[in-house]
């Protein structure tokens, strides 16, 4: 299994907090459904707000590491 835990460092809760709550909500739902196609579509939307965050989120998707993705989104939602 490919570890992507190292990529989370750059995804700060502050950056994620800048994303619309509705977008985060859709990403969480897509992650819960293990739907990589939908997640990639949504990370394209993230790119409009922050290109680096989008790139890092895509790494989770390519590794099918939905749990790490959910953890990151959760930390952003708490901010």
């Amino acid at each position: 299994m490919t570890s992507t835990a190292g990529a989370t460092g750059a995804l700060t809760p502050k950056i994620l907090a800048a994303l619309p709550a509705e977008l985060i909500c859709r990403m969480r739902e897509a992650a819960m459904n293990a739907d990589p196609d939908q997640l990639l579509t949504l990370t394209d939307e993230v790119e409009h707000y922050d290109i680096h965050s989008a790139r890092r989120l895509r790494r989770f998707v390519h590794a099918f590491d939905y749990q790490s993705l959910l953890d990151v989104l959760q930390s952003g939602a708490r901010t």
């Binding site: 299994m1 293990a34 939905y66 749990q67």
Partner: protein
């Protein structure tokens, strides 16, 4: 062939493998075949996402960190909501014992790696179709169950409402009979007696139907007392005497009293039902014989007839509600099909058993047992 197109939802397949390259390969191939694919890289998350939205089928690797495929499958099968999802194991393990274990934990199939995609596709398609058929059968069963419930409620309602006017008819006919029909002609009196006998049959049908409903709902309270079965059988024989025509009605076996703890009224009606049934199916000049056997543990009552017998395939069905057997001699169906159900439920309410032995062309013997016990259970 019908020309209409029925829209079927795209089947959703979850692929669980800790190697992203394997996930990409299988996901790509399955998507090309039109499936919705959900690739997952850990057993733990597979359970989480399956609970969130159950897939139609799971392709499951075995060797994975944290939680292996066998453990994942066991958890799926232990979850009522997920247990019906077919799991196909896909693994590099190729020993027979690995495959046996996969089936033991609930897998429906096993594919060894390296795999040919055509094989995976064929197995996936087969198990999806099996699941679809299983769901259809379950849906049909559920619909049948609902229809049966509707029928029972309707019958109960109609029969319940029939009871009051029927009691009035019965009462007035009885009054006419006890007045000896003084103002009636001989033919008029005969009519009254025939009407009375038919009304009695109807009252019995109504009572049986209502009692069956009560016994099915376990709402029937038994009035248990010490009952003597020979006496009850003699009374029942006397009651069906007018129906016997040219047939012979006999009581054989022990003359010793056989006492059991039972609801005398219910057991008397069981006797009457079995005797009435035997007479209906026994041709003229045939015989209907009641015998009672007694042992330390139970009393056994047998009602033997010389009718046409019952084909083996009907021997259980006749005890089901509305399960009737056609008389092969005249292609007639007798009664409401509730009498034997009543007998079965009434005997079982006493912790007894009921059954039939039959030989086609020679006759049938309906029997029931009642446990011998000293006091109310």
């Amino acid at each position: 062939m019908e020309n209409s197109t029925v829209h079927q939802p795209v089947p959703s397949i979850m692929v669980v493998d800790d190697t992203p390259a394997n996930l990409r390969l299988l996901t790509g191939m399955l998507k090309e075949r039109g499936y919705k694919v959900r690739p997952v890289s850990s057993g733990k998350f597979a359970l989480q996402t399956a609970k969130h939205d159950p897939p139609d089928l799971i392709l499951l690797d075995i060797i994975m960190p944290e939680m292996n495929g066998y453990e994942v499958c066991e958890c799926l099968k232990a979850d009522e909501q997920l247990s019906g999802i077919p799991v196909i194991f896909i693994s590099a393990l190729n020993e027979t014992m690995d495959k046996v274990k996969a089936f033991k934990v609930g897998g429906v199939d096993y594919v060894t790696k390296p795999f040919q995609f055509e094989e995976v596709q064929a197995r996936v398609a087969t198990h999806l179709e099996l699941r679809r058929q299983k769901r259809l059968v379950q849906e049909s069963n559920e619909q049948l169950r609902k229809l049966e419930e509707l029928r029972d409620n309707l019958v109960h309602m109609v029969v319940h409402d029939m009871r009051t006017p029927l009691t009035a008819i019965y009462g007035f006919l009885r009054t006419l009979e006890t007045l000896k029909g003084e103002s009636l002609s001989d033919q008029g009196r005969e009519f009254v007696q025939t009407a009375l006998a038919s009304t009695e049959d109807l009252v019995e049908m109504v009572s049986s139907l209502l009692d069956v409903s009560k016994m099915e709902a376990e709402e029937m309270k038994l009035n248990l007392t010490q009952c003597e079965l020979l006496t009850i059988s003699r009374e029942a024989l006397a009651k069906v005497e007018p129906l016997k025509g040219d047939r012979e009605l006999m009581l054989s076996g022990t003359d010793e009293p056989v006492t059991v703890m039972a609801d005398a009224e219910l057991i008397a009606r069981v006797f009457q039902n079995l005797l009435g049934n035997a007479l209906k199916f026994t041709p003229d000049a045939g015989q209907v014989t009641v015998s009672i056997e007694s042992s330390a543990d139970a009393a056994r009552v047998l009602v033997q007839d010389t009718g046409p017998g019952i084909p083996p395939e009907y021997r259980e069905r006749i005890f089901e509600k509305f399960g009737q057997v056609e008389n092969p001699a005249n292609k007639q169906r007798y009664s409401t099909g509730i009498g034997l159900t009543f007998c079965k439920l009434a005997v079982e309410a006493h912790d007894g058993q009921v059954g039939v032995n039959s030989e086609e062309g020679r006759g049938s013997t309906f029997w029931f047992t009642l446990p011998r016990r000293e006091s109310v259970p």
